[in-house]
């Protein structure tokens, strides 16, 4: 629908909408995160859901203890290499459409433990991250800001057309390769389809890798 006509109509007191807008409006206001905490950031995540910060205002208070019922994975804390396969597998088990917030310095880059032999240097090496939050740990306000950013992102997702998001393309897989414990490191050390460092290509294409598990 023509944007100008829509604005003109709204001035006259006539509200118009599209199916896509209605759909995204419903989706962004009922994002259910997974009950899933890895380290200290999880405490801030819990605080965000409590009365003082009240994530329920955004329709996201329903933390689901199963990936089958969750839309959002908040990777809150240090991802050790021991834990990384489980995180990726849980992401694989979530139903589409699914989103990821990498919360805190550890989840986005390894943080203060970046030099450690046992810490994954950012979960975006294996799964497509929608919003990164820096901080050690980020305050609840930062998580709420990330959540609103995600809501904005969901709101702008097209339902049809070539620009529609990954989960609406029938041929892109929804599972990503689960790393295995190798002799010295996780194998593979990253998923090249997901992890793109120096260019600004959108993440989350995952073309050729159906998750092998």
């Amino acid at each position: 629908m023509d944007q100008k006509l829509k604005i003109e109509l709204s001035k006259q007191g006539i509200v118009t909408t599209t199916l896509e807008e209605l759909y995204n409006w419903g989706r962004k206001n009922s994002v259910w995160p997974m009950t899933f905490g890895l380290a200290c950031c999880a405490i801030e995540m819990i605080a965000t859901t409590m009365a003082r910060y009240d994530l329920a205002r955004f329709g996201a208070e329903v933390f689901r203890p199963s990936p089958r019922q969750a839309d959002l994975m908040i990777v809150s804390g240090t991802v050790t290499k021991k834990m990384a396969p489980q995180v990726v597998r849980l992401y694989n088990q979530m139903a589409e459409p699914k989103y990821v917030i990498a919360m805190g310095a550890c989840a986005i880059s390894g943080g203060p433990f970046k030099q450690g032999y046992n810490v994954l240097k950012g979960i975006d090496r294996y799964i497509p991250v929608d919003v990164h939050i820096p901080g050690c740990p980020p305050r609840p306000e930062a998580l709420i800001d990330a959540f609103m950013t995600l809501q904005k992102k969901i709101d702008e997702q097209a339902l049809t057309g070539a620009n529609r998001p990954r989960h609406l393309h029938a041929d892109t897989p929804s599972e990503f390769v689960v790393p295995r414990f190798g002799a010295h490191d996780l194998e593979p050390p990253n998923n090249p389809n997901v992890w793109r460092i120096l260019n600004n290509e959108p993440c989350g294409a995952g073309e050729a890798d159906a998750g092998e598990d």
């Binding site: 597998r89 989960h167 599972e175 998750g211 598990d213």
Partner: protein
């Protein structure tokens, strides 16, 4: 307001149809929506049993040993049977032949269970 088919119940029929439609319509719409806009994406991880992110080991459908069936038999004999025996004894003189035979069959079955449990050594403690 009497209809030839439903009589005075026409409003209830209309309401029932409306209620069923109210329940079915959202489900049908969601199904149609998923057909049109939400491609199915199964995968090995997604289809596997949920084990908190760990790799699934073996199958969930394993033979399960019912070790406690002997306790169930003992319970039936000394608890349930006693409950049935009391009213049976009270009403014994007024019972018909058929009822008496049915009760005797019940007692015989439980007595067989007692013999079985005795053979298994459940009744010996020391």
């Amino acid at each position: 307001m009497n209809s030839p088919v439903f009589g005075p119940y026409l409003p209830i029929v209309v309401l029932a149809i409306a209620a069923a439609g109210f329940a079915v319509a959202p489900l049908a719409l969601a199904w149609l929506w998923s057909k049109r806009y939400s491609p199915r994406k199964p995968g090995p991880s997604k289809n596997s049993t949920y084990e908190c992110g760990l790799e699934t080991k073996d199958n969930g459908l394993i033979p399960f040993k019912p070790e406690y069936y002997l306790y169930a038999i003992i319970f039936l004999i000394f608890d349930v049977e006693a409950i049935f025996l009391l009213p049976f004894a009270v009403a014994f003189t007024g019972l018909s032949i058929g009822a008496s035979i049915a009760m005797m069959v019940f007692l015989l079955l439980l007595a067989e269970g007692l013999v079985w449990a005795w053979q298994k050594g459940v009744l010996t403690w020391a």
